[in-house]
Symmetry: D3
Subunit: 266 residues, 6 copies
């Protein structure tokens, strides 16, 4: 039982021993959001969790229960919150969930947390959640708690981009439910990808501004911001390796005394 | 892909079709809480989810992403919130999570929701979450949305109790991480139960009141409120059947036009 | 003036002397809620206050102003919040009232508080109110403030139950505005009980779950969950004695250095 | 039972009949605040309630449970919140209590409310509480609910001032626990006034500004802002008559269809 | 650049040097509110800022960015919030803005702040904002931060009143957009006063109470509570001198170690 | 007076006429944030306002009072919130300010708003503020209110970038207080730029993640993320023209019936 990854699958006594031994906690934060007709709505939380699992294996870290609901989908980022199925939280709800659980991890004795975000819209609210938690922790006299916060896709290496997009990278902006996410899902959860449903809409062409209420006509009906054509499990594997290695290296650099396994990722 | 149970594993297009077809949503609400040295901390969310899955199979319903963090553990209910590992939300954080997702389900077009609670301390906050959501829905002119709310253990039949506790039922009050929950976990997730770690503390003997800060000495060190001695997967199966059948019947009675599969549970 | 019980009837100089002398504060928390056609809507706050008064006399304690509005009435607990007259607070309103006044008592120099709840629906929100107050007090460096929290009916002795219900106790669940509350009111406030209006509805028969919006048809029209037939002032006296003695004993046990009068309750 | 004044002493059926008959609700709002060594801490809530009772008798109105905790005492208004015994709410706690109960009165079917404030510091927060309630009521389509809001001392007639202060009125600013409040308490609650403890501090002499944290030295130690010398029950009676008549007349003018008793106040 | 007054026009390095040198911060708080047809809607914020500028010149103080939106206009104070153009904040929004910026000034190292309020309705919310900030600062161990809070008109000297109102002062209550504010604007911002639009409504005649929703008929259509007839830049100059001198003197008295320029105001 | 741009300089009667005539409101949102030793802390709010003014001149629009405090500065975006002088709001404070004023503009009768953001960290909170306002407006039955939301730098044309960075554009990420902002300030507010203080730090080199508490060593001491070398008023003029024209065109496209002046920008 000592080699479990998921906090929720451990007993409290096991967890306590791991924390006392200096184990790091990884917190995946995702969303329940439309990802086109070919990907499941849990894509963001599944991919953030997948990165957490890969990193946890390297560092003997603990994967906390993922935050499965995220901030409201935005048209240019995830198609918009008008889609059926997209299930989002108000800003301060999400912020308070993060604030509360971070404070609990600190109470447990943890002093290092890595928050792995898989839904772009969450970014600023994870920052506020961390800030509110750190502020209250300081009121309790806890000032040595540290959080490394990241969006996993920022660890994509240029070499990988070139391999995945041999004809040129259109940029991260329209990658919602497109080549990168679909490839990652084909690698991590192929049974949840419906390749037959891959949409063929043209890429979205957004202006430099937003309009509210959402101009739903700006978004391809499928909810996919650019075609996933060219997606492949093999590409997903390359990306997954970038994230596993990149995030692990970042943690080792910033939290040098974190427990590290001797074996290297296959 | 049409026979998936979990909302997060469906594409939005599949989900939309199911909702348009009148599918019911089941929302499991649990906790991340110590359950003694023999059960995993995710026990409450796993059991609420297990009930949801069994019911969903009967009714062709959709299981929404479970709420994995619950309200602060209380000494007499779950051992208290001072345990390492127990990871809880403030009351209004939990309430707002429920409020927000319920409003989203209504926006999707759903009109029937079943909230399945697996953590006693959550009860009143699920009620407030539902009330706040219903109030805002009424502001939007939505007045036909209905929620059936339950604690799953309230569906335990007397006959089952008698079979599980042949020497007399000590009552639900001390059943935290005890015979019933351990039996259910042995049935649903045997690989997560560590029978070798079953504690042998005597049952807790609580007074008629609470004291805060928690008198931690009142709670057996293990976190288990009464011995799980006598737990068995077979007993868990009996309980699971009560919940699957009882909850399904309740839904059929209250939401008679809900889609029902013809096959009966094996 | 030194023998007053009610904080609000004392001058601040008297109160300060009492607090400096170690006097305990008792905070009654009730509701404004329908209690059938025969009992006044203030029943919960009057009974919580009555217990506080009886205990205060034993322990030379101070009775703080009662919280007269409580959490939303629930069908199975108090008939439901749809009744005309029932006047309830949102969860966080009630929680914040309790948080704020508890912090004030601590600022005054008090270090022991007994919160006496007379409305079942309030329970979890009194817990959250206490927790939020304790948390903020700890930020101020106050860590020796203690709260004993109770529902008064949990101090009913088995012997008393047997005397009051010679034909068998139907259980606390349906006791809203029924034999126990009516008897207590006949003992404490007979002029407010209208025996001619005693309803004769059959007991409510609730299922194992809730439905929202409230299925108002589940609740007897009168708002009384089971018949008050057999109520009597003499029975109320027995109950009152249980509460006065039981709560006093609990306080003496948990807060042993609390000031105790020498005379015993008549 | 039909001639009761206090909502909390009525059954819901009685209350409902009264509301259906167009009865007006009066809501006293006070504080728990030091009022010198001679007056009880509940002075503000007792006086607001006394006005409500006198008016209710004229108009066959209903007196709702008083709000017993108010906003934080300010040095120039009530001596400051640093006094032992003063027990105050945060602004939004008080505001939300008022918002919630006002919405409940509207749900009951009431359409006219009079909020009688007895604690100066509450004024702006009663305004915000009313505004938030009215806003939410409008979301529900209720737009005919009206609130008359007042501080009772604004109904003091010039003739009365001249009688009470034959040597000239020093103004309302320093009247905290001074001649007017003490006279009113001598009239309404003489048993709660300790004339032997009447302080003889000189009047406070405040500058044109505030400093926070409170410069406690600005406030006379007793907490009384100007001497109560010259207070008398007879003067309290004059004031009480002004308030009873003035408030009643205001209500009759603004809410002309309110039920009015035929008898005149003695 | 060292002689700039406005924080927002300074670089952070300049500001830091000033703060390290003990410079005082002045925070103007105003509103965006109708001020009749002849005055701009920014009158309150402009006048609070003008006072701040005059004082800052005397004391080498720093003028922070003004809070341009205030609490909801009240009929008797500023005409009511139903006017087109009046743009107000909810109570807790305003309170939180003040709480947040005060905490930031303390983080910068400032220990003395003067909050200059120019909108009567803001008063109690500035008090709550200050209180919430002080409370949190105390959690951080900062207990030497002081705030001097004022409404600028309270510094009007009797001699000035007599000069401005040779025929008798009607009192501050109806001075909204009337002689004093118009004179001050003629002095400070003559280009923003439209003397041709000076309304000639009679003074408002308010009762001793409020009614909500606002009885808009109580307020002169122009939004001006009493005629500005007799306003003059020269009168504004007298008032401005009172405020500049009075506020400066108050600060010197309460915060004696504040940096003072040698030159005297012309 | 009819040709004023700033709402706060208009009387309410003028404003009302403009709104009734269909005038558009522009709301600048900025920050009070360090911008290196050479730029004032109000840079973000000044530049957002400058864009608003240029656009307002084209469209006969109204410039609302700018929001002068923004969300907490982030290391990679604005240097971090640890700098002396940076004065930020909590997320929900900023969000609620925007929610409240947007609702007020709608109450005034406006149906079109352009929110011009000048501080990157504000982006998601402006989105939430708009969403909360729209939601409440819908409760009031107002569903035709539209907001165009933008960060002004997204209107920089490629041709302009090439002219400003003849040796290649390092990207927007490090442009805090660098060439673009300094050039714009040299154009709009040259008297507030201290060219002698232009820092010569090397560009910041941030990793792909954040660490909290902020690793202050990551940020150049000056607070400038990349050298402003090469800044020039002439470049600022080019940028300003892009924004004036680009934003005006966007508004004309999305809000085609907005009032348009005939004259073209010089």
């Amino acid at each position: 039982m000592s080699d479990r990854l998921f906090m929720n699958e451990m007993s409290w006594t096991t967890y306590q021993k791991r924390i006392e031994g200096g184990a790091l906690i990884l917190l995946p934060v995702g969303a329940t959001e439309q990802h086109g007709p070919h990907l499941p709505m849990g894509t963001d939380v599944m991919l953030a969790t997948a990165v957490a699992v890969d990193v946890a294996k390297q560092l003997d870290a603990i994967v906390a229960p993922a935050v499965a609901f995220g901030y409201k989908s935005q048209p240019k980022m995830g198609g918009g919150n008008h889609y059926c199925g997209t299930t989002s939280l108000d800003a301060d709800t999400l912020t308070h969930v993060l604030r509360d659980v971070i404070k609990e991890f600190a109470r447990h004795g943890a002093r290092r947390l890595v928050l792995i975000n898989g839904h772009y819209e969450n970014m600023m609210f994870t920052i506020e959640g961390i800030d509110l938690a750190m502020r209250e922790l300081s009121y309790m006299g806890i000032r040595d708690f540290e959080v490394l916060r990241l969006e996993y896709w920022d660890f994509t290496r240029t070499e990988t981009i070139e391999k995945i997009f041999p004809e040129g990278f259109p940029g991260f902006a329209l990658e919602h439910a497109a080549v990168m996410e679909t490839s990652l899902m084909l690698y991590h959860h192929p049974e949840l990808v419906d390749m037959a449903a891959l949409p063929t809409d043209k890429p979205a062409d957004f202006p430099a501004y937003d309009v509210y209420p959402t101009r739903t006509g700006w978004v391809p009906c499928s909810g996919v911001l650019s075609p996933a054509t060219g997606c492949a499990a093999e590409k997903g594997k390359l990306l997954a390796a970038d994230y596993a290695i990149g995030v692990t290296d970042a943690i080792r650099k910033e939290f040098p005394n974190v427990k590290a396994k001797t074996q290297v990722m296959a």
